[in-house]
């Protein structure tokens, strides 16, 4: 019985996918808690999706796709930071506008300059079952940086998450840590591209962290549960996708969403007043 269950993991390409998702789980789970705490869900979705023109350029000019994706993600983050500093429009409107701008450039590059096709689709959707040799190394680096940055800046990130204005009066400097957080999200989102693709990166980042948030009130347990949840959901999702022949990213997204829904209704049944808003 157990042999049958574990059989897919004997295949080398499934093993590579498993290593990738386990390595990524540390960065994605940890960063997910910061994203939920700081309300950066739209930014993290957009910074991954904004990689589109970078992928087109990498495909057209023939350099490494993660490089192009990361470069455009940085460009996106920089443009957003520059525009939001003027405080003239809401952060979310600006995120949408910059994202639209990047996608327009991507579409024009893809259809009128390079005439690129199916390659881009694969990259936008990603696949854990087609992991290249460089991907786990990139994911390891991204996860390690996330761990280090969480140790260094965690207290400031947490304090800013509660009260951005009081932080300065408490003597924390929040400009550098904030920039580090946005940079880190761009990095991990790029690392997740090849695994689950741009449209479903949020499934790996945000859904497990949101699920874990329903159980935990303190930061450290929340982070540990979140990392564990990414790893478990990633592993089971990968197994399911091999068995059912469905794309792994979509399977993981569906599975994580189901776990969130079940957790939510369990919490509600157990009498926790989750609806009570502040």
């Amino acid at each position: 019985m157990l042999d049958l269950l574990l059989e897919p993991f004997l295949l080398p390409f499934v093993q590579r996918g498993l290593v990738e998702v386990l390595v990524l789980s540390v960065g994605a789970g940890l960063l997910g808690t910061w994203i939920v705490l700081r309300g950066l869900a739209f930014y993290s979705h957009a910074v991954g999706t904004a990689a589109f023109p970078g992928l087109v350029l990498a495909d057209g000019l023939g350099f490494a796709a993660p490089l192009g994706a990361f470069a455009t993600a940085m460009l996106f983050a920089g443009a957003l930071e520059r525009l939001s500093r003027q405080r003239r429009s809401g952060y979310d409107s600006l995120t949408a506008l910059v994202l639209v701008g990047m996608l327009v450039v991507g579409i024009i590059l893809a259809s009128d300059v390079f005439g690129s096709g199916a390659n881009i689709d694969t990259l936008l959707f990603g696949s854990l079952l087609a992991i290249g040799p460089g991907d786990p190394i990139f994911a390891t680096a991204a996860s390690a940086l996330t761990l280090i940055a969480s140790f260094l800046f965690g207290r400031t990130w947490l304090a800013t998450g509660f009260d951005a204005y009081a932080v300065r009066s408490l003597g924390f400097r929040s400009a550098v840590p904030d920039a580090a957080l946005l940079l880190l999200i761009a990095l991990v989102a790029t690392a997740a591209l090849s695994a689950v693709g741009a449209l479903l990166a949020t499934a790996l980042f945000i859904v497990p962290a949101a699920t874990a948030r329903l159980w935990s009130r303190r930061l450290l347990p929340w982070q540990i549960v979140s990392i564990a949840l990414v790893a478990v959901e990633g592993t089971i999702g990968l197994w399911l996708s091999v068995e059912s022949n469905a794309p792994p990213g979509a399977t993981i997204a569906m599975l994580s969403g189901g776990v969130f829904a079940i957790t939510f209704f369990l919490r509600r049944l157990s009498g926790t007043r989750v609806w009570e808003s502040d």
Partner: protein
Amino acid sequence: MMMSPELLLLTGGVGSRFWQVLFEPWTQGIMQHALTEVALLGLVGGALGCWIVLYELSYSAESLAHALFPGLVIAALSGLPLMLGAGLGITVAAVAIALFGQVPGIGRDTAVAVIVSTLFGLGVVLALSPASPPGLQGLLFGDILGVSDLDLILAMGLVAVTLISLRLLHPQLLTVGFDRSTARSIGGNPRRADVALLVLLALATLVAVQGLGSLLVVAVLVGPAATARLLARRLTPMMVVATLLSFLAGIGGLYLSYYAGIAAGASVAGAIVALYLIVLGGSKIRGLDRRRNPLRANPRLPETVRTLPPVDAP
């Protein structure tokens, strides 16, 4: 012999050639359809877009289109009309976002991420199952130049429903939008306002995404309203300005698409972003000082008040 439009402009007697370049695109049925669709969506973008911007619903506007996927696939598999399935799917998503967004510690943007990625994942898995008819993905990514008569009728219905609902909801939306935390004490209901706005947004996405594609939907719903916010301080003028800006970007974008041969959706979306940047740049040059300290701008105040050092806003 065909001449490029630039050449026509430069060489010919400017008069008739100019008018020819100006009117030539609109002699074609396909461009007339596109223009009507862009104008109709502009009306929605002007009115609904302002609320989207003020309620900070851009993430929902960007992502809801992906959430109609599973409804679409289920309708296709069970032989129901596609629009019905997609409509049910996207409405469920909108209501779920409004409700989950109220959970403390989760927040609305996180709720959007959870619900949209789950439904999109479900849709992809269902669409790739062997029983699904092929070509479903095409339904998600519309083409502005392929707008049909049915699409136009649907879009007109959408405009009517949206404008009437917004007119009826106006006091409620204003009360909640002004101050969410105290709205309840003066008869506002934040949850009801959120659900109403998100359902209207879902409806707009559903109708518009077929003709225009998801990129243009978010561009039209967020861009002109954000631009209008730079120019207007009161809500009604902001809505009028946003509508005019959508028309301007729509017409400009279609010209660009016709003469430069760029995909129509991309060029209209590009025109919308360009318009925002131009207005932002222009308003910075014109009124930087006045914005930073509104007291300075009021000539009726005594000189001593007007020359006070600027106060840093919190």
